[in-house]
């Protein structure tokens, strides 16, 4: 599974398409005016956990690029890169979980959530703000507060949506050794 084969290419493409559709058309009001919950990060975490870091990185990169591209507000490179980074890190940290073989118990859930918390904290709390400072020379306190708020929202979203997706997907796969020889 760690080889990047045809299946991973397809998963990257479909993952990016899903990321795009969820990010572009699915708006769930968060309570704060004009802020929507981005459930696409739950999906990205799922794709990364199942198909690995490269698929996670590219799905985030392509999906986010197309969202910016279709809104036409300019491609926000600092945030596109952060999306790709989050996908990649979650992919790396969840290599040990074999969701695609139907294994996703309590251990898997804990591991998955630790991975996503680390990825979001570093990605939105550090990487995106630093890129904003480097590229646009924005004031540090503004971008760090923005970054930490979005990290918080994304962590909650991924914890709920991503975990549920992984559980549902692993339950739909027949477990190894679930067939017994008739006696």
């Amino acid at each position: 599974m760690k080889k990047f084969g045809v299946k991973h290419i397809v998963a990257t493409g479909i993952g990016a398409a899903l990321f795009f559709v969820l990010g572009r058309f699915v708006a769930i009001p968060s309570g704060v005016p004009d802020t929507n919950i981005s459930i696409q990060y739950g999906l990205l975490a799922f794709i990364a956990a199942v198909f690995g870091p490269i698929a996670g990185l590219l799905s985030g990169l392509i999906g986010h690029f197309f969202i910016d591209f279709s809104f036409g507000w300019g491609v926000w490179w600092s945030w596109v890169i952060a999306s790709a980074f989050v996908g990649c890190v979650i992919g790396f940290l969840t290599v040990k979980i074999n969701i695609e073989e139907g294994e996703f118990g309590i251990n898997g859930i804990i591991r998955f959530n630790i991975a996503q918390v680390i990825a979001h904290l570093v990605g939105w709390g550090a990487l995106a703000p630093v890129l904003d400072i480097v590229i646009y020379a924005e004031p540090a306190n503004k971008v760090f507060i923005q970054g930490l708020v979005s990290a918080g929202i994304n962590i909650i979203t991924t914890a709920v949506v991503g975990t549920l997706l992984c559980v549902a997907y692993s339950a739909a796969i027949p477990k190894k050794g679930s067939l017994k020889e008739e006696e």
Binding site: I39, Y136, P139
Partner: protein, 275 residues
């Protein structure tokens, strides 16, 4: 598709450039505009980008919606910067010229105003180019041309696949969400945050599981046709580079060089009129 990505099919010299050229130019242009804070350079870029906009035969009314969106965003961002750091400009330019008698925390300074002017200019220098790229690039041709600028064709193919399946997934999502709402799934402000997330996952699960099937079917089909066996492939929408493509890219390379050169002679990224 065309609606989704705002592509406008209209003959113009910019439309005739290949997608790869436009993408490379967009990257180089963004890099040139991002790396510098030199007011003269940014003004120049803004003027050239507006001229290019005219050459591309894109009218303001074609992009008025996107433009409005961006401008609102820009205004909100500027206000946020001012609220969080009203003396950011004085730190950057190293001097402090108060414009009014009042000298409190939110006192307007010439440096801060100049910083905001540059900040806005930085966006104005890139927004027309991005809009131009978005409106003149056929998405399918863009995916095909990525391969030509050195992106591995498996990745270019993933981009093409994403474009191919976005309308399908969009339709499917719509169907599932309507079926869910008919059965009483609440996603509006009436439900609590966590239950909204849960119901969103309720819609997502069928969507994802059917997408996983889709991945299986497509990858089997591709494998049966021998995808990935050779080092190269051809593209239906691909076009060869012409002289105009090469000169456009060279022009953008020159812009990047100019921007880096200005950073060098300014001794930093900022053009400082306050010295």
């Amino acid at each position: 598709m065309t609606n989704l990505f705002n592509y406008i099919d209209r003959p113009s010299p910019i439309h005739r450039l290949t997608g790869a050229t436009k993408f490379v130019c967009l990257m180089l242009w963004s890099f040139a505009a991002m790396s510098t804070y030199d007011t003269r350079m940014l003004l120049g870029l803004t003027i050239i980008s507006m001229i290019l906009f005219l050459i591309g035969r894109i009218h303001i009314k074609d992009v008025s919606f996107m433009l409005g969106f961006t401008l609102v965003f820009l205004v909100i961002n500027s206000i946020a910067i001012y609220l969080f750091s009203p003396l950011h400009g004085t730190k950057i330019y190293g001097s402090c010229t108060y414009l009014l008698e009042y000298t409190g925390r939110f006192a307007p300074t010439a440096e801060q105003l100049f910083y905001h002017f540059n900040y806005v200019l930085k966006y104005l220098a890139t927004i027309p180019i991005v809009l131009l790229f978005v409106t003149t690039t056929n998405p399918s041709e863009f995916a095909a041309s990525l391969n030509k600028i050195g992106v591995k064709y498996s990745i270019a193919y993933a981009v093409a696949l994403a474009l191919r399946y976005i309308p399908d997934i969009q339709r499917q999502y719509h169907e599932i969400s309507q079926a869910g709402q008919a059965r009483g799934i609440e996603m509006s402000k009436k439900a609590t945050l966590i239950s909204r997330l849960k119901s969103a996952s309720g819609i997502l699960i069928p969507l994802i599981l059917s997408s996983m099937d889709r991945i299986e079917v497509i990858s089997n089909a591709m494998e049966l046709r021998g995808f990935g066996k050779k080092k190269k492939r051809t593209w239906y929408m691909g076009r060869p580079f012409k002289a105009a493509d090469i000169s456009a890219m060279l022009g953008c390379v020159l812009l990047v060089c100019l921007s880096l050169y200005l950073n060098h002679i300014n001794g930093g990224r900022y053009y400082n009129p306050f010295i």
